[in-house]
Subunit: 215 residues, 2 copies
């Protein structure tokens, strides 16, 4: 099937949203937890968290102003702190429930039966059920002019990672944690490891590359 | 295992790179293809392509100035056009080879035995072997001050998608295309669909959410 620019513009809204959301491929599944200054806790499901840089350790995520109330962004701007928590297969229903619309006074912690993991001196709660819990401090908010979204960049402050998922070279095994991946707006997937590949050299044949795969 | 901010700063460089790159979870696997003004073709493997918005249809990706020569960014700035091509399991070795360092005059098309799919009136080649081929035009480049990376935002101009992967509501099934997902710097994974979930309502129980899953 081919869609031209003109055809894309003529698509029914819902069809277009499903199509365009699926273009990039697989996305990360993370719960972002925050607290307002007055202590109201919030969780939101984000599929847009991505790696920005390792030194300094930076992560980015997109916030859409119009589609949902921006409790997460408001809280981050108020306190500067937030946590990113990976979603494992066991947490699928709870994570999905965190994407439901709710008032600011209703915490997704109670709606979704998730427990707050409070870290001393850090104002955002982590999610106790999440295997990988990352504390971040806001570094930059960058407006994307073209569609009025905001890119939130934070610096990693601390990390909780299960011993059994941490390899000796620092790699975190999301397979061991049974982390989910999302495609499109609403599709969830588990994963199967194919292996890790050493740094590629242009002199290698395709067979040599696959032969070097570490399972 | 717990890493404090101080401990993160003390980690050996390679360990730190592996750890921080794995934090966000699963990433998309895409080949970005471009042409220079003088017609030199380039392919680079990106794990940072993400959805920005559906209307207008926007996709983003990060370019790191220091780690690799920026042939992709240079070509995009020269011509305005680029293609994003999903990586299927069959293309794993070829995609990985596209991450090898090479001179601008050496095309990854010949190094990796990939074929250019040329679209009339569009200066960037697509990758014939890729099931999902997306043509984009540069919309904005946004500098991320904190670590000197560049966010490239493009608007979708056209899409080739296999009929068998396109659902009646516009959803693209990456499982059918056997798209890969990446974690960390170098780990590749296939996926298994758990299903799609209808829009969540806060009144639902966790059991009701899972009961509504469309397999």
């Amino acid at each position: 099937m081919f869609f031209s620019h003109h055809q894309l513009n003529e698509l029914p809204e819902r069809y277009r949203v499903n199509l365009i959301n699926a273009l990039s491929g697989f996305k990360s599944a993370n719960l972002v937890a925050t607290s307002s200054k007055s202590g109201e806790l919030n969780i939101a499901l984000f599929s847009s968290v991505f790696h920005v840089g390792a030194n300094p350790a930076l992560m980015g995520m997109l916030s859409r102003p119009h589609s949902v109330p921006r409790h997460t962004l408001e809280n981050i701007l108020e306190t500067g702190d937030y946590t990113i928590n990976s979603v494992s297969e066991d947490m699928l229903a709870q994570a999905h429930l965190c994407s439901a619309r709710s008032d600011r006074s209703e915490s997704e912690f109670s709606l979704s039966h998730l427990d707050a993991h409070i870290i001393k001196g850090f104002s955002a709660p982590a999610i106790a059920q999440s295997p990988l819990q990352i504390g971040l401090r806001l570094k930059e908010t960058i407006p994307i002019q073209t569609n009025d979204t905001v890119l939130i960049i934070g610096e990693v402050q601390h990390i909780f990672v299960p011993d059994e998922a941490l390899h000796s070279d620092g790699f975190i095994d999301h397979g061991v944690m049974r982390s989910l991946t999302i495609s499109g707006l609403d599709a969830y997937h588990s994963t199967t490891s194919l292996g890790r590949l050493p740094y590629a050299k242009k002199s290698q044949t395709l067979g040599e590359i696959l032969g070097n795969m570490k399972k």
